[in-house]
Structures are given as C-alpha cells and as structure tokens.
C-alpha cells in the first residue's frame, strides 16, 4: 500500500515522457510564477531581517515545488492547514504579497493584527489558509476535524495538512492520522521531508524506512514523491485529493526535498548540515528544473523568465515598502479577540493600559478612549 521509490515526472532534459499535467498553459506558468514569488519573497525578507527591519523570517529555498505543486491540486473551496514553511501555497492561490508583508511587519493591516510572529499567516480568502500555529503538529487533528465536518455535511471539501519530517514525531501526527484512518476523512497529509528539523537530521527523528510508510500504522496509503519536481508533486497530490473527494479516504504523501537555507533567519545551517548535502541538492533546484520543462514545452524562454522574475521581485519589493509604512496595530488589539465579546476584567486591563500609554504620550491619535 506504500510506495518507496519517489515518483518523478520531469526528466533531466525537461521532458515528461508524454505525461499530461492536465493544466492549461496559463496554469503552468502560474505555478512557475508562484515559485518565483516564493523565492523573491524569501530573498527580500532575508534582507529586511538582516537590516533589522523585520524580526524573523523562514527560508523556503528548495521547497518551492512541493508547496506550489501540492497547492495546485486544490480548489478554492478546499482548506489548507499549512506549516510555517508553506506560504508558497498561499501565493499560488492568489494571496497578495502585500497581505503577507503586513504580517511580516506585524502592522495595523496584518490580518492577525500584529499578534503573531512574522510568517504566521492567516487567510480566509481566496482559499482557507488556516492561521499558522507555532506548536508543531497541533494542526493535524484539526485538519481532520474540518474534513470530518465537511463529510458529515455531505460537502466534497478536501483538506490539505502540511508538516515537516520533524512534525511526524508530534502528538498531532499520531492522533490526526489515526482519526483520519478510522473516519476515512477527506484529508491529504503532506510530509515535507526536507532532511532536517532545525539541526536534527531525519535519522535522529525516526528509525522508520522513510516517512510514507508511517501511514501503515493508520491504514493510510503512503506515497513518496520527488519534492523538487513540481509536476510529480502535483500528480500525487491530485490523485490523493481526488481519492479523498470521492470518499476514498486519506493519503500520506512524503515529498523528498531539501531545505537549502537555515531553519529560520536566526539559524546558521553550516554549523550542522554537511556541505555535500547543499551541493547535492543545489543541482536539484526545483525552479530551474521546472524552467527546463517549460522551455522544452515551448512555454518559456530566457527573456520571459527574466522579465517574470523582475516583475514578481518588484511587486514584492513594493509590497515590503508599503507594509513598512503602515504603523503598528492600535493598543486595543492586545485586548480584543480573546473572546467574541470583551469580558469586564480584560476591558479594565485595557483601560489601564490606555491610561498609562496616554500618560506616557504613547497613545496614538484615534486612541482617545478605550474603544472596546
């Protein structure tokens, strides 16, 4: 029931041996563009972080094909429960880079109201990209709950839950996959095996023979795919999504890929990742690989690629500049959204905080009275 050889579609020369990705050309280019966006977003965030203008970011270099390929298998009515290293899925589905930059700066326009660390996005439109949580694995049984609810209501929604190799050791992985197996929930579990959980290599994470096989413990088929091959990732995800939508139950996908950067902008991977690994995977960069396919298919040439890259980079740079101009969230955002309605004790604490800020001259115009 479990595959062990990673599925590949795109060959060294960009050929696909006649495989039909079942996507219009514009879609294929859209995937390419989304990968470029991820990389540009990353690069700009790294610079912003190094310049001390944002506090933190999460590099995605090397993982773009997994994110975008998997996202491309979903409809807008489906749900994504992402990890913090998944925002290519949001970009693919059309979340504006500006929305994301608001989060990176934790500013007043951030959907999460500046409450979360950067990269902890939450979107409901154009697809449900569920509020990212730092604790690893907690989102997995939640994804199953969403899927089960959809099924009980007779909807054909599919839920994608994404996590890392490290995430498979979490409680949520165990309970989530077990419940999904018993309930035959319409969920696709995407394990992004990028070789490392911060500084811990997979052999410190588990003695299992890869990650796809972990599905056996839950009666869930496991599929291994080359995570740097966008079409392969799309293919297995689409199959899993269709199976789920048709009532066939969950699938566990292991996408074998590699984190070319550090765990985060606070991390120096050279301290622990052997240099050979970077060299090995550098040659397997998912973006040039997909470029080759597009070129072989006659959809892209060098000039178009350069232009598209320049365009997305500019869009993101503009977004960063715009987001940086937006001020911090209002003081009352500390106190709202704890509950649907504001309880008296929190209101009182808010009033005191506002008083103090006013005395200190830190209250901003418009904050005149505590508004909640």
């Amino acid at each position: 029931m479990t595959t062990t050889e990673p599925l590949q579609v795109i060959q060294a020369d960009g050929g696909v041996n006649g495989y039909d990705p079942q996507m219009p050309e514009s879609e294929l280019l859209h995937c390419y563009r989304a990968m470029l966006q991820v990389r540009a977003f990353d690069a700009i965030c790294l610079k912003l972080q190094r310049a001390g203008r944002i506090g933190f970011s999460i590099p995605n270099e090397g993982i773009e094909a997994t994110q975008v390929g998997a996202a491309s298998a979903l409809r807008k009515s489906d749900w994504i429960f992402p990890s913090y290293r998944d925002f290519g899925m949001a970009l693919y589905h059309g979340v504006a880079p500006l929305e994301m930059m608001h989060n990176m700066f934790g500013n007043a326009r951030d959907g999460a109201k500046g409450r979360q660390m950067p990269v902890h996005f939450s979107f409901v439109e154009p697809i449900r990209f569920v509020s990212i949580s730092s604790p690893i694995g907690t989102h997995i049984p939640q994804a199953v709950g969403v899927a089960h609810a959809a099924r009980l209501r007779g909807e054909d929604t599919v839920v994608l839950a994404s996590f890392g190799d490290g995430g498979t050791s979490s409680l949520g992985f165990h309970s989530g996959l077990n419940f999904a197996g018993v309930w035959r929930s319409p969920v696709v579990f995407l394990c992004q095996n990028n070789g490392w959980a911060i500084s811990c290599p997979t052999e410190e994470q588990t003695a299992s023979d890869g990650f796809a096989i972990k599905g056996e413990a839950y009666g869930i088929p496991g599929v291994v795919v080359d995570g740097n091959d966008l079409l392969a990732v799309r293919k297995v995800t689409l199959a899993a999504v269709e199976r789920a939508r048709a009532g066939g139950g969950p699938t566990l996908i292991e996408a074998k890929t590699f984190r070319m950067g550090g765990h985060s902008t606070s991390d120096d991977p050279k301290r622990y990742v052997p240099a050979e690994q970077f060299e090995h995977w550098k040659k397997r960069d998912p973006i040039p690989r997909f470029e080759k396919f597009l070129q072989a298919a006659g959809l892209l040439d060098a000039a178009k690629a350069v232009a598209m890259n320049a365009e997305v980079t500019e869009e993101i740079a503009v977004a960063a500049r715009a987001a940086e101009q937006v001020g911090p969230p209002a003081l009352e955002t500390i106190f709202s959204d704890v509950y649907a309605a504001l309880p008296a004790h929190i209101r009182k604490q808010g009033e005191q905080a506002f008083d103090l800020a006013a005395r200190r001259g830190e209250a901003r115009s418009g904050d005149g009275t505590f508004p909640l």
Binding site: W79, D110, G111, A112, K113, R115, Q116, H120, S122, F123, V124, V130, S131, S133, P135, T138, I140, P141, Q142, A143, V144, G145, V146, A147, H148, A149, A150, L152, R153, L171, G172, H174, S175, G176, N178, F179, V182, S336, D337, V338, Y339, A340, P343, A344, H345, I346
Partner: protein
C-alpha cells in the same frame, strides 16, 4: 418540570441541544453504544445515530484537536473527556489552540466547542479519577470554564455553553451526578455564563464555592446557624470569565470570606478570589480570607474522606472568620 439528577439533567441538556440544532455532535471515548462510563450520553446514539454521537480512538489530543477543526468548520462539537484526570494529553490543544485561535487569527478562525468532563473526588478513585484541575485552565485567556452544582444549572449552563461562541470547558462534579436532584425545565433554556448564584442568603460571612463544594458549604452554613452565624453561600458557576464585580460586592457586603474548593490549595482557584479581595476590597475585610481546600498532595484513595473538604472543615473556617 421533571425532577432529575444532575447526570440526567446533563443528558437532557445534550438531547435538547441535539434536537434543536442538527450541527451539535457528541463524541468521545465510550460515549456511543455504552452511553459514557457515567451514562451522561445514554441513548443519544440511539436517538441521533452514530453520525452525531460516536466513539473515538483513545486519544484526548485527537478528540479535542478534531473538535477544534469541526468547530472551525461550522459544527458544534460537544466532546467528552472520560475523566478530567485524562484531559492532560489534550492540554496543548486546549491551551495553545482552542483558547488562542481567535486571537492569533485576528478573529478569522474560531473554535466554539464544548469539552465536558467529570471532575472531583468522592468515588474512591485515587490519584487519577478524582482530580479537580480547574486552576490549570482558568489561567488560560480565551477559554471559558463552567462548573454547575444543581441539575437546573447543569442543563441551563450546558445549553448556554453549547450556544457560546467561545471554547468552553464544562466541568461536571461527578460526586453530585447522582446525589443531587432538582427540578429541571423541559426543553431549551439557558443560564447565562459569568453570573453568580446566591445559593443561600446570609449577612455575616460569604462562602464562595462551586461544584461539589456547594452542598458541602450549604450544610456548613446550616450548621453555623447554631453558633448564630448567618452565612451567605455563593455558587460561582462560571470560573472564567469570572464575575469579579459580583464577587467583590459579596465580599464587601459581609466583610468576612471563606473560599472552598476540592483542588489543592497552592495556586488553586481560591487564590484568585483571595487576591481579588486583597487588591480591591481589603479595606472592607474584618477577618482573614480563609481557604478550605484539598491538600497540596496528590489525591489519595483510602483516605479520601480526609482529603476532601467536608462541612466540618468549612464550619471551622466560618467560625474562624466570624470570630476573628
């Protein structure tokens, strides 16, 4: 109105909610065919089918995690944790997730679920079938914590909890499941959350309590009449968000306060009541604020009757604050 035990009132509350709203689901370990180990969910699977009342694998983390997802996606999950002692595998889901989802998503996602669980001593359950863990949860902004002590409130608070837009931990005093009876209205009604109940009027001393300590406190109040002390008993009912102003009004009006709970004393819920008073009503106090609680030990088995506060321990405290 029927006369029901607290357990029957909860069963009735669940049935009422499920009849009124097809999106209400009940699940947990052994809640289906068996109807729960205490029979709180008896006959629900029979009436509503296995799609609306069902067993789960033995994973509290999964139960609460899945409930959060269902709640995010428009259902009204009412999850049972078999004993409150076994809720800790779900602690992360409750404290890190359910309680923080609305906040961290800027209100984009919410998790209006109810977690029901029996808590407290009185059944010779030893360390792991007797605990009162309310303080662990009351320190968690975003969560609501409700504890009924009468059949009427049990049903009305449960229905209010199910209707509530926020995650609610509903703690059921298992010692009272079958030992208290009372009139319970038929059909749907709600007891508003975050409201106190004056279980007994009195002007000399206020006893704050909840759950299984309410009858214990009432008995102590009755007995203190003999020493001429007129005791008010206030059932807190909702511990979080607490009606702090209500607590302070009662405290100020009698100037003498006893706080009673089963849980260990240190950093227990009673500390918050004392602290509120020490901060906002100390100038009205004519006596120390005395806590009567379980001991700062795990819960024993054979000697549980020594561990659990009884009316005599409460009476001692009442006399101490009355005659200070």
């Amino acid at each position: 109105m029927a006369t029901l035990t607290l357990l029957q009132a909860i069963n009735d509350g669940l049935r009422t909610a499920m009849r009124d709203d097809p999106s209400v689901l009940v699940f947990g370990e052994d809640v289906g065919k068996k109807g729960g180990v205490f029979l709180a969910t008896e006959n629900l699977q029979k009436e509503f089918g296995a799609k609306r009342c069902f067993d789960t694998p033995l994973s509290e983390d999964g139960i609460v995690g899945a409930a959060i997802g269902m709640a995010m996606n428009g259902l009204k999950p009412v999850a049972e944790i078999q004993f409150q002692d076994f809720i800790f595998p779900a602690f992360d889901q409750i404290v890190s997730e359910a309680a923080k989802l609305r906040y961290r998503s800027g209100g984009q996602y919410t998790a209006p679920l109810v977690i029901r669980t029996p808590y407290g001593g009185g059944i010779r359950g030893g360390l792991y079938h007797s605990q009162s863990g309310e303080a662990y949860f009351c320190h968690t902004p975003g969560l609501k914590v409700v504890v009924p002590s009468t059949p009427h409130d049990a049903k009305g608070l449960l229905l209010a909890s199910i209707a509530d837009p926020d995650p609610v931990l509903f703690l059921e005093p298992k010692a009272l499941y079958r030992s208290v009876k009372g009139e319970v209205p038929e059909g749907s009604y709600r007891v508003e959350l975050s409201t106190l109940r004056e279980a007994r009027a009195g002007k000399d001393v206020t006893v704050f309590c909840y759950g299984a300590m309410v009858p214990v406190s009432l008995k102590a109040a009755e007995e203190s009449l003999a020493s001429g002390i007129d005791v008010r008993v206030v059932d807190l009912r909702t511990l979080l968000p607490l009606d702090e102003e209500g607590v302070l009004e009662h405290a100020r009006s009698t100037g003498r306060v006893v706080v009673v709970h089963e849980a260990p004393r240190f950093c227990g819920f009673g500390a918050e009541i004392s602290a509120l008073i020490a901060e906002h009503a100390i100038e009205y106090m004519e006596a120390p604020v005395v806590r009567v609680t379980g001991f700062d030990t795990p819960f024993p088995n054979t000697l549980e009757h020594h561990y659990l506060p009884d009316h005599r321990r409460v009476l001692d405290a009442i006399e101490r604050v009355a005659h200070f």
